[in-house]
Symmetry: C2
Subunit: 218 residues, 2 copies
């Protein structure tokens, strides 16, 4: 069977989010580079897969998907086994708790972390746009408040949704990895349970593999 295709390189956080899931389940996949600076993501071929002209798009046979968090769930649902069950959809309470913390990643955590990553790494490196320090400072304050809640939770349990790893944990990978490359990485030092959770995640072969790919493609 032809491997699934991911359109967009590992350097992009939203692509890396999908790749980690593919690695977790051991799926066969092919990465098709999209030249962002040449605006390939705005060309008709890419718009057919992602009508908003963003990265990534994803193809599995006739099925074409976009939005990294939706693709992540598709991959994890398709390859679910009793051992690797990252959505927990057969247990309504667990599934709901996974959903809650997946929403928290998108609407609380990444809203604080992403602007720091964009201002400190993406804008200066890729576009030569200087860092807006006011945005960074406000985001760091927001992030500390979010991490306080995480610390409360992770000091009592191993992963965000419970004693099991889930898509809610995995989804944190790409922005956290990039954040750790900024001058603000030490913010995590004040939240020992969060730091331990992150360090444990980073021991996973999936995250090691995709981290290496992310570095190569910057």
């Amino acid at each position: 069977m032809a491997p699934v295709k991911v359109f967009g390189s590992a350097a992009f956080t939203n692509v890396a989010r999908v790749l980690v899931c593919l690695e977790e389940v051991g799926a066969d996949y092919e990465v098709v580079d999209i030249d962002f600076l040449a605006k390939e993501h705005k060309k008709p071929e890419h718009l057919a897969g992602n009508p908003f002209g963003e990265i990534p798009a994803f193809q599995d046979g006739d099925l074409v998907l976009f939005e990294s968090r939706a693709i992540a769930k598709y991959v994890l649902r398709k390859h679910r086994t009793d051992e690797v069950d990252m959505l927990r959809e057969s247990n309504p309470e667990e599934a709901a708790t996974v959903d809650v913390w997946a929403e928290v990643e998108a609407h609380q955590y990444s809203k604080a972390v992403a602007p720091i990553v964009y201002e400190c790494i993406v804008y200066p490196t890729a576009y030569g746009i200087p860092t807006n320090q006011k945005v960074v400072d406000e985001s760091v304050e927001k992030l500390k408040k979010v991490l306080e809640v995480y610390e409360g939770r992770l000091s009592k349990q191993e992963y965000l949704a419970g004693s099991f790893i889930s898509v809610a944990d995995l989804n944190h990978f790409p922005f956290t990895l990039r954040f750790m490359e900024t001058a603000y990485a030490s913010v995590f030092d004040s939240f020992p349970s969060v730091k331990a959770w992150w360090e444990k995640l980073m021991l996973r072969p999936s995250m090691k593999k995709v981290s290496a790919d992310m570095q190569r493609k910057v």
Copy 2:
């Protein structure tokens, strides 16, 4: 059995998102008002349910949830029948498409619509803060681009994820209802399939009921 509890009144868009789902499945529920201006959402009792101090929180027996889109899915999953199946989790392709368009609602549509609703209604009415016209104008332009994609899709199929209604459609309800109260409602006139989709949604008893509740509680 005790009804489930929703903490936060129908006037709040994120509460209304949950209530529409409860109405769709005919669940028995109780709304527990949270006095936002008295900052009840920052008090320990509410923080126990929603650690980020936001609205809503939700309780079903021992299970306590937050994040409206996660609660919506829990409600729809719990009450799924062959007739009312808004997540389509038994069909991986349909489930993935529902997830894609649920993500689009959160990350494309609401990112454009919410600032218009906040600037034109919430800030002036609830806080006496004048409208920031620059934010509104930029958001209206963003919204038009999003609606172009929606028009392309909804001119070919009845609902966002396919020929069936899903949580992806339902989630659009609260911000669109409020947007239609602003001076920019006529933006929808340029997108006839989107407008027809919205008008069809608004015929649903769930949306009629919650619309009325939203008006009463402003």
